[in-house]
Symmetry: C2
Subunit: 302 residues, 2 copies
């Protein structure tokens, strides 16, 4: 496989297996696309789907998925804990191999335009594809949710990028865009004092002057089986090439040291691109001349 683009759409159905499977069949039945994973959350009433392929097959699968979801999912009857604005709520495209974020921006525009035309669902371009700064952030686009969207799109600054100002009556609107792969990364501390985790999260996150492309919060974790408590610095690394994981590890360590606190272990949640980890190995091992592209065996196989 030469070029690899990953898409991780969220659909607003996490309970009705028939509907979920019918949507996922659209991915399974697209040549050149590989379904990697899907996982439903009943309380969120939402399913995350992960698939990969080259630009052309991801385009096909993505448009077909939205058409099927718009046909089967009725937002006027949807309830769940997670905020949502569309039958397919959000559809990111991530560059994995032999393509750039810019290629994924291009793809998002092609797919967004086709979704508006073929499924009748208006589309906001978000993240790296955003056409206005306030549209980079999905949370801002989604504010008001499905129920408030018919009104919101009438506002000057909230005209969708494709499909005009009339929302789909049952499938709402959706966000499509390019973004780098994200790594969900937690660091556990040998203290029960959640304030330490909160202070450190505050130091490392971009929002409060920390590292670019790091989102972070401090949590108190209670282990279900043992009842053991500890504080955790929970991070979303939204661009591991901009801010590599090791930089967060080392910073959390030296900030925790002020309180006599240590990192007991770290956790990576879900999938992680190999480069995010190999970059860290190179740092710690001082393997500075290593050429990821040509020297990692698997890069010759992918």
């Amino acid at each position: 496989m030469a070029q690899i683009i990953e898409s991780i759409p969220n659909i607003s159905e996490g309970r009705n297996t028939e509907v979920i499977e019918a949507c996922i069949d659209e991915i399974r039945n697209t040549n050149g696309c590989t379904l990697l994973d899907y996982s439903s959350d009943e309380s969120h009433n939402r399913t995350v789907i992960t698939y990969i392929g080259d630009a052309k097959s991801v385009e096909e699968a993505s448009v077909k998925l939205v058409k099927k979801a718009a046909e089967l999912i009725d937002l006027t009857k949807h309830e769940g804990e997670h905020p949502r604005m569309g039958a397919v709520d959000v559809m990111p495209f991530l560059p994995i191999k032999d393509c750039t974020t810019e290629d994924c921006v291009e793809l998002s525009k092609v797919v967004g335009s086709r979704i508006a035309d073929e499924a009748g669902v208006p589309v906001f371009l978000y993240e790296s594809s955003a056409t206005r700064p306030e549209r980079q952030n999905l949370v801002k686009i989604r504010k008001g949710q499905f129920e408030g969207m018919a009104e919101k799109v009438q506002e000057e600054i909230w005209e969708p990028d494709f499909g005009g100002r009339r929302i789909h009556p049952t499938a709402g609107v959706m966000a499509v865009g390019a973004r780098p792969p994200l790594v969900a990364f937690n660091l556990n501390l040998d203290t029960e004092d959640v304030e330490v985790a909160k202070k450190i999260a505050n130091i490392i996150r971009e929002k409060d002057g920390g590292f670019k492309c790091v989102k972070s919060m401090g949590f108190e974790i209670v282990e279900e089986d043992t009842g053991k408590k500890y504080a955790q610095v929970s991070c979303n690394m939204t661009n591991y090439e901009q801010t590599p994981l090791y930089r967060v590890v080392e910073t959390v360590k030296f900030e925790a040291a002020r309180y006599g606190v240590h990192v007991t272990k770290t956790e990576i949640i879900g999938l992680c691109p190999m480069k995010a980890l190999i970059d860290c190995a190179q740092y710690y091992m001082q393997t500075n001349d290593f050429d990821f592209r040509t020297q990692v065996l698997e890069n010759h196989i992918l």
Copy 2:
């Protein structure tokens, strides 16, 4: 691609491009096999070829390669700095994905038997495929080289595993066997004193009581362009799951500290399986619960 086995045979021709290309064409023309790399050394008069595929296609390619090399390469006329005993000198099989060293041992026996039958070249099974302890080590099998082999195979303990005691008149004999992927790994020190590198190499290598599956030597390196001198600990990590790279890094660091010496950088030479590096990232980042098989994105694509 489900199962991936890698083969890295060395053929005894590093000068005649026509012969080299004809041999490599046998790999190129085998369905299911991918040629990753080949590189010739004129002074060694030897070419290293790297290809991958599933067991069946690697078997096909490997047998075809030996037949072609036996046809075109005449050891009675071969000269070069590197010791050799056959037209194809050595043919290792390495488990890369969804297969074990044991699967590669099986493959080596199938291929070895076919080579004896179809190319008329007697085969020694070596490394993990060895049928006697003294045959694990290629150097011991090859001792006496092509010129001494007709006599050597008459000795009680040196009957080839396949093909009997009559060597091929121009293609000699060869070694076939399974081994884990090897990582060539150097650590540069901020001293010109090669004795420090030699002492450390002595401590870490298996032969002298150090880590299992580590071969190591101390060298003095003179940079060609700058004339800068430094000592280097040069390692062959013959099984990075047995002894991971980080263990060598940390040991070299603390042993060098005795002399006030530091590691300035490390080098990985050639290809390296991603797991050798990701294992190190996990160590340094304390990502202890990370599941390489399911959590590395690329493992779902390979």
